[in-house]
């Protein structure tokens, strides 16, 4: 069973938000969706789930048009996080509704998790804290036992201890039920430890799909230069993440042998390769924007 997102385009108030978005989600995968603020992550989620109608393209599941085949809709669960109707109901009432909405709703698991996390079963969700609400959305989404679950910023507002528990919940859901989870998040450090691959939403489309181990040409270095000024080629070929005096941490989007030779030259006292993370790949993907911001900041200073 594969969810196929094919050439999805969507304009909102005459602004192109998504353009020819294509990717696939396979069974039992955890996939991250990253992009800058306003990149269209929530629009993409809404379009996949059926809240929004795409202007172009289609979403396929089991060779059927997902949007037009409503009987498939209990195979995908997406609970939009901001203020919504759920806030006016208690977990107890929501259980009754979700049992109707999702054929395989796991009532006993739901009850057990609500109890385990100490959520009040008869209080309205609106009385919960932000973190508790986020936790509740994850529990109710997983209890639906839908094959596909979309989570928008699921770890937002959760304290460290709950976050670890939730991460465990996500992993368990995938290993025990072979669920596919698409997670939109700004927290790339958290994503690194969870996902199989990451989709980068940039310029209204999926700019690249990456797994850390696949990005051999993205490299991160910490180095110390000898001269008074930072060698010019560094700025032109990489994104500087940090600089303290002569010590620089830099990510190269497209590391080449030529760059390696330059780094081995006399301009540098010390060069060390660091392990890259999704955050580094993200930075490298937005190297041009980051470079122009850096220049603007330098001019302002």
């Amino acid at each position: 069973m594969t969810l196929v997102i094919e050439n999805i385009s969507k304009k909102i108030q005459d602004k192109q938000v998504l353009e020819n978005v294509c990717f696939e989600l396979h069974q039992g995968e955890i996939v991250g969706l990253v992009g800058r603020n306003g990149a269209g992550k929530t629009t993409l989620f809404g379009t996949i789930a059926g809240e929004l109608l795409p202007d172009f393209g289609h979403i396929g599941l089991d060779d059927l048009d997902y949007n037009k085949t409503t009987r498939l809709h209990d195979q995908l669960c997406y609970v939009d996080m901001p203020e919504n109707w759920l806030h006016y109901y208690s977990p107890k009432k929501i259980k009754t509704i979700f049992k109707l909405a999702y054929e395989n709703f796991d009532e006993s698991w739901y009850d057990a998790e609500i109890k385990r996390f100490g959520l009040n079963n008869s209080k309205r969700i609106r009385t919960y804290s932000k973190g508790m609400r986020a936790l509740f959305v994850i529990i109710v989404s997983f209890a639906s036992r839908a094959q596909y679950v979309l989570l928008d910023e699921p770890l937002d507002g959760l304290d460290v201890l709950i976050r670890d528990q939730v991460k465990q919940l996500i992993v368990n859901q995938v290993t025990q039920h072979n669920t596919t989870i698409l997670i939109a998040s700004h927290n790339l450090i958290e994503l690194d430890t969870l996902v199989d691959r990451i989709l980068l939403l940039k310029n209204q489309t999926i700019d690249r799909t990456f797994a850390i181990e696949d990005n051999k040409n993205i490299k991160k270095y910490q180095l110390a230069f000898t001269g008074e000024e930072l060698p010019r080629f560094l700025r032109e070929s990489g994104t500087i993440i940090a600089q303290t005096g002569h010590i620089v941490t830099i990510v190269f989007n497209d590391f080449s042998e030529e760059l390696g030779i330059k780094l081995a030259g006399p301009e540098f006292k010390f060069v060390e390769e660091l392990q890259i993370s999704s955050e580094d790949v993200f930075r490298a993907s937005f190297a041009e924007e980051a470079f122009s911001w850096q220049q603007e900041l330098e001019v302002d200073a």
Binding site: G46, L53, T70, L72, H73, W85, I97, L100
Partner: protein, 266 residues
């Protein structure tokens, strides 16, 4: 369809329980219409609440289609209140004042048909228009126009029923009203299938209806102002144009949200 009815009823169960309490016997004559109106007010609140609390948004993701959701709402929020109110009214009248049963039946049929028609207008307007206050404004405008066109409509029904026997006179008007309402509901059903949640803040949610709505406001107001006396002179004609133009411009601004850039730069 069954799933849509079950799901919506479960979510809105508490609101459906808000059936108005039984009024006292003194006003049993007007019980049917009264019950319908009270229940429909509750239905309107429920309907508007669905959008503001983003229940619509979630229901779009469920295994029910947009069309089924539309029909469900019409059944539960329009047809059911009208039917239950009528059954209660007829039942009470039969028990308490059996001699007025036929009159009560006639009143109930006419009132139900008219309310069904007005509901169809509200439902279609509420489907097409995004913000709640604009839904209200659009409905008031349309019902206002209808009220003003009342004498013409009455004349129309009279001309039809004049050729009929007196027995049909009281029946033909509700039948025509119901048929027109059903047609309007059918249009609403078609439009509801193309409503995307991202248009919720737009004045007109269906792209191809933006211009027709501006033109409708202009023409409908123009027809009204031109039917007033004193429009045959040139000045009177110009005066009659003022209100339609103002209303059309206001509608245009809400629908298209044009941005004006004021600049002195060359």
């Amino acid at each position: 369809m069954r799933q849509a009815l079950k799901l919506y009823t479960t979510i809105r169960k508490n609101q459906f329980m808000l059936i108005p309490g039984m009024p006292n016997q003194d006003i049993v004559d007007a019980l049917g219409p009264e019950l319908i109106v009270i229940w429909l007010i509750i239905a309107i609140i429920v309907f508007l609440n669905d959008q503001s609390r983003r229940l619509d948004t979630w229901l779009y993701t469920q295994n029910i289609s947009r069309g089924q959701l539309f029909v469900t709402r019409v059944i539960l929020l329009v047809v059911l209140p009208i039917m239950v109110a009528n059954v209660v009214d007829i039942g009470l009248t039969a028990a308490l004042q059996p001699h007025t049963l036929l009159d009560a039946l006639n009143v109930d049929i006419t009132v139900s048909a008219n309310i069904f028609f007005m509901s169809s207008l509200f439902v279609v307007i509420a489907t097409i228009i995004g913000p709640n206050w604009l839904k209200a404004a659009g409905t008031i405008f349309t019902l206002g126009l209808l009220a003003l066109a009342g004498p013409t409509i009455k004349l129309f029904f009279k001309s039809i029923s004049s050729s009929m026997t007196s027995h049909f006179e009281g029946v033909i008007q509700p039948i025509i009203t119901m048929v027109v309402a059903l047609f309007i509901f059918a249009v609403g059903h078609y439009l509801a299938q193309n409503i995307s949640d991202d248009t919720v803040d737009e004045a007109v949610r269906v792209h191809y209806l933006k211009w027709p709505i501006v033109i409708f406001v202009f023409i409908a107001t123009l027809m009204k102002t031109m039917s007033s006396p004193g429009r045959s002179s040139f000045d009177g004609f110009l005066l009659g144009l003022v209100l339609p133009i103002i209303l059309a411009i206001v509608t245009f601004i809400f629908v298209f949200k044009p941005t004006f850039k004021v600049t002195w730069d060359k």
